[in-house]
Amino acid sequence: MTTVTRPATQTVPTHPARFRDLLAAEWIKLWSLRSTWAAFALILLAMVGLAVHAALATHAGWPDWSAERRALRSPLWDAFPTEAQMFVVLAASGVGAVAIGGEYASGLMRTTFAAVPRRYAVATAKLTVLTGVLTLLGTLGAAAAFAVSQAILADVDASMSIGDPGALRGIAASALLVPLCALVGMALAALIRHTAPAIVTAATVLLLLPTAVNEDERWSALLRHAMLVPAWQRLRDPTGPPPWLTDLHAASVSGAWTTYAAWAVVAALVTTLALHRRAP
């Protein structure tokens, strides 16, 4: 073998491999995509805008409502209307799917893994940054939606305060739905490795599937309770299902939180394992 002068570069002290550098890299990746800004704006707009819309509708109809109807209605239904959650589910799972699917589809994942061969670390950094940012965004959106809708309802004395039973739980459940959907989007994109099919699959799993499963039978009720959007509904409603539905297998609050936790853990595990095992 011929002796060669080593490049000067090798005498440069090697920097320690710091996890926070990976977090910073993922942070740059997230904010340098226009689709991130668009999706975040859509999530906030849908959460706050549709809460305002629902609260105004209640506000307008309130004088004509019967006492029974007023008693049944929860102010949280206006703060977190189901329509808003549909936008949130689509946009948040889309952000997650883009974060991973876009990186696979463009081939960037190869560049990323050549730069950081420790794939577990890359996966953890991605999960941390996206979950963290979307938890903040969800909290901001849910708090704003609650505040604005209750301010409107206060005018007709139909509002609730943050200290009332179920209020904080409703806010927390609606806030956490945002990062949870992003996690599901990430996991599906890590498996499918293309953005658009991952988004379609996420919408199918999160939004369409629950409509196909009812609570008639014990097994189908269990299946439904294990789904994310029904779990969110249970956590949002302060008193559980309305009285005329009591013959069904009702979901419990603790069961709904368990569903949240299980989806988060499974999605994070699937994402990490898929990134680690499959050739980019």
Binding site: A8, H15, S32, A115, P117
Partner: protein
Amino acid sequence: MIELDGLTRRYGRNTTAVDDLTLTVRPGRVTGFLGPNGAGKSTTLRMVLGLTTPTSGTATVGGVRFRELARGLRHAGALLDAADVHGGRSARAHLASLARSNGIGAARVDEVLGQVGLDDAADRRVGAFSLGMRQRVGIAAALLGDPPVLMFDEPFNGLDPEGVRWVRELFRRLAAEGRTVFVSSHLMGEVEHCADHLVVIGRGRLIADESLDEFAARAGHAEVVVRTPEPATLTTALVDVGADVRPDAGGVLAVTGVSPERIAELALGLRIPLHQLTTRTASLEEAFMELTAADVEYAARETR
């Protein structure tokens, strides 16, 4: 230094992309990595970088398997595919996130952007870039960590002639600094002006691993091209002195076995005018084609 030892990658039962490759890519010179399309070049480079897991055998960079490294950019820089960039990001954002992941400062990003001549386009989305500009982004990414080993997969694709010259000079400079420079191509013409050493593979198997000079010697056989208004007379005279004469395209004679001087003397003696007398060596390209002819995966059938 890159070392491959029995490196093999199979897909399914019947497809062997890389077949028992053993070779060393040494520092201080540019090594061309040649083979027809589908020969296994890209798969080999991906295995070196730990992106594809070998079925058997090992690939190491500086004695270490790449997957065992915490961070890669200071050990090896690679341009794998110019498209390995997200089109929605600016060149600067792409490089900044890569640099940051390896603890490399932002100043280095500006430095490599300048080095590849993308200062002015740095803040535009890569999706709007031409292939040549994307190649420059990829080359900038490879240079980020100032690594001792550099790998480039088909770096000349999409480059204009000025870009090709620039890249060749860059490779030579990197090698002169003592780095290992491994450049794949399916065209000999692209690497023959910058490589010192050639590795040729076909259908995943090693065909040649030798210096450019040794490879050129394979192309060896020189011949003399002669154009004359009286080919028949000259042919007879040349055959008489032991030359091998073959009529070639365009009415010329391709002569082997005698020197051009001897041919000129013979013609002078016979008072035959010569309109052309040139020597022709087979090009490296021809040697390469000959060597890999049997291993071309998707050959176009000759049209009648």
